[in-house]
Amino acid sequence: MNNAFFALAKKIKKKIKRRTEESRPKKEKTKSELAVSDELKQRLQAVKDLLGESKDIVIREFKSGNDMVKLAILFIDGMSDKATISETIIRPIQSGNLSIKFNKDLSAGNALAAIEKHLSEFAETSTVPDLSQAVRQMLGGDSILLIDGEKEILVFGTRSWQSRAVEEPATESVVRGPREGFTETMRVNTSLLRRRIRHEGLRFESMKAGRRTWTEIVLVYIDDIVNRRVLEEVRRRIAAIDTDSILESGYIEEFIEDSPWSVFPQIEHTERVDKAAAAILEGRVLILTDNTPFTLIIPTSFFQFIQAAEDFYERPAIGATLLRLLRIAVLQIALMLPAIYVAVTTFHHEMLPTSLLLSIAAAREGIPFPAVAEALLMEATFEVLREAGIRLPRPVGQAISIVGGLVVGDAAIRAGLVSPAMVIVVATTAISSFAIPAFNASISLRLLRFPLLILAGVMGLYGLIFGLLLILIHLSSLQSFGIPYLAPLVHGTADDAIQTFARIPWWMSFKRPRMLNTRDRVRQKSSAGFRPAPPDERELFHEEVKKNAGKR
């Protein structure tokens, strides 16, 4: 990234040098007064050479109101606020009848200082020593003011572009909870977070990556909670990214995750602001990427994928805890049900109660395929259906699901190609895989279902267990930024494990997860934040007791 920057700087310097060399003979012919104005022209030409004939770059040359200084303002059409530029930058300098003091200050040798001084009340300004850096800021939406004869360049923060409004995220909808999601604009996103966490410890740490896209990446954390070593590691890995483009946080995810070849996602992503804020408050690091609403949560453990944002707003015991247990069951169904069905019907008939065995055997009568082939066929069909439906416009997508699911499924059963039991199994598996909150985790399970199915078809339940143990070895060797992927089942304390599988009521959750090793572990002091009870009733009772005692 730095290299790119220096290269750009060199290029610009070269251009300026060439310009000056070319113009030198002319300069000798003309008067020195003209040479001064040439200097501005050269710099503008350098910028033009660098950026080419791009139509969206606006260059406006103008003179100060007292005709003493030549200036040029450059900005990108569509990324800067034109009204602000003309109202608060160009007009004050151009108009002759502004304040007398400004007019007096504004002279050839003193222009930059004067403008900076008098315009600072209108817009956010800064000075930049060289042209390449200024151009880069201009490409980010700022406008730059070149002043004839001044080496330093004034930069005005005039970023403003069309952006999507804050909407409810489509991927993670909730019944109860805030409906705000991140947008593609970095400033909007940071403000959404700042609005939720007003603590002074909230930090936004900006980094840049992508040699051509210069994408802004912002690390968000709370300074006195976050584990320093995790933060350091995140910084190190992001700084090590050396690619020319970053268009989505998925790029970053791949660059910084621990085991890039694994099928399991090792970094959770979210569009929900409240979920992101909760992660930050838990002591995790959030990575915001410019131009995408998807933020990354680091570190991530596998069991985060069974949690939904809503769990934390619903009734703890019945709502959230049971739902989580249900999701764990669903996870296993999505992963193993077809494999178990195949193993049992092919190898382990004795495991089924006789009546069930008879009905399954009756249903399978006349099916030309072995159970494995049948299952593979149906699973593959389902995956195709799902893939076909997912990207089509909604009305067509419904047609697909009707034709594919109902018509083909029914016809296949009637034709005796698949057994009804298999259809039930495949459908249950499909529904289960939809019930997993995290889409990326559910993809991994969908993928792993096939090898398990084949193993179960070859070696029965033993094959299935073999496959599961392989997955377990893999999961156990995974880490996410120094934290075992299976934490807290594997690494954390019993307290963490309970917090993960059950939703502890807020008045009972005193500590942050131990496995994250945060600097500040206390959420609330156990004595102060005890169970809320109606205070007046208790006091009333005590008063009553006192009164009675007094009477006696």
Partner: protein
């Protein structure tokens, strides 16, 4: 250091627990019942507690030679030649143990679940899994075990509590009917099994807190003793001692006989899952110990290159050492306890400790400094 990972004392204790427990509840009930009759359920805790002696020996040795495994300090104690010999014999012990465990595993699956599948399929797939685990390192094995232990312990407890309705406690009595001798004979088998905790001598240097090894090792022995005794009581009270002794895997039939209503039947698949998962951990631990031992005896910088070749050796042994399940049971009943206790879980550690103590006394202050360095 050959192993860079560190595990917590709790993880080590859990690892040792599963290592002992995985095969003990499957094989020992039958053998102990055969030898001790009615009193098997008394013999088993009596024998199992022998494991505590091994833990103590290994712990003292580990504390005297901090940061060194049994392969290394046997050289420190007995000198280069004898030390290497002892270390190699321990490597052999772990290899033999791994092969025997794998064989038990294969025999159980072929006799109870998939009778038409050849033994080698199970042996090879298990060794393949264990090889991957060993290549991934001690930390990964310990982490997997933390997951597996939950599965194993909770399903065993569920099985035992679900079976209470069919227990017939009278089967356990009379106590001491035939005197103390059968109990002593019956106790030696669980003692041998619990002596396997000598593997702690290899793992101890890799603990985050080596001094925690004593408590976690003892906890592992006590935990597995408790489970074994529960299993024996359960099995004997259902089948009686004679029928128990006549089976190879009584716990398997025991689980089959549990019926809750008409729906929850056929729990034996649970036993299979526990069995496969537990034996996988057990094999991985011994396999790991053997690989690390080879690397340390021959001064290799990495143990990973020897893993695959050791796997082949274990695979071949697991098939050729015993001709059938009867021979395996005979070996486990008659030869194994005497052999493993006299040599590895008591004999050699005791020898190492006493030589170390004598040498420490003899050299006195002169070598006091060296020891601190070492």
């Amino acid at each position: 250091m050959l192993e860079k990972g560190k595990i917590s004392p709790r993880q080590a204790g859990e690892l040792m627990f599963i290592t002992i427990m995985a095969t003990v509840i499957l094989f020992v009930p039958a053998i102990t019942s055969e030898l001790a009759g009615h009193d098997a359920w008394i013999a088993s805790p009596a024998g199992s507690l022998f494991g505590l002696v091994t833990v103590l020996l290994v712990f003292i040795l580990g504390i005297r030679y901090p940061g060194r495994t049994i392969f290394q300090y046997s050289e420190d104690i007995l000198g280069r030649f004898l030390g290497k010999l002892v270390a190699l014999s321990f490597v052999w012990f772990f290899l033999h143990l791994a092969a025997t465990v794998v064989r038990q595993f294969g025999d159980f699956l072929t006799t109870s679940f998939l009778p038409e599948t050849p033994l080698s399929v199970f042996n090879f797939t298990l060794i393949f899994l264990a090889a991957i685990a060993v290549l991934s390192g001690l930390e990964v094995i310990a982490r997997m075990n933390e997951f597996i232990i939950l599965l194993v312990v909770s399903s065993l407890l569920a099985i035992f509590s679900l079976s209470i309705s069919i227990w017939e406690i009278e089967n356990l009595f009379p106590v001491f009917a035939s005197g103390i001798i059968p109990i002593a004979r019956g106790a030696i088998v669980p003692a041998a099994w619990h002596g396997e905790i000598v593997a702690l001598a290899v793992i101890m240097p890799f603990l985050t807190r080596p001094r925690g090894a004593l408590v976690s090792g003892a906890a592992a022995v006590l935990g597995s003793t408790a489970l074994l005794t529960t299993a024996l009581i359960a099995v004997q009270s259902v089948f009686g001692p004679d029928f128990t002794a006549s089976m190879h895997f009584p716990i398997h039939l025991f689980v089959r006989s549990i019926n809750i209503g008409r729906i929850l039947t056929r729990f034996e698949v649970v036993i299979m899952i526990i069995w496969v998962a537990g034996v996988f951990i057990k094999t991985s631990v011994f396999y790991y110990c053997a690989a690390l031992g080879i690397a340390q005896v021959f001064g290799l910088s990495e143990y990973r290159p020897v893993v695959l070749s050791l796997g082949l050796i274990i695979a071949v042994f697991s098939i050729t050492l015993y001709s059938d399940v009867a021979e395996l049971a005979h070996f486990l009943r008659d030869a194994w306890p005497v052999y493993s206790i006299s040599m590895y879980s008591l004999g050699l550690p005791l020898l190492l400790l006493s030589v170390s103590l004598v040498r420490g006394k003899l050299s006195g202050e002169a070598q006091g400094k060296d020891k601190q360095d070492g």
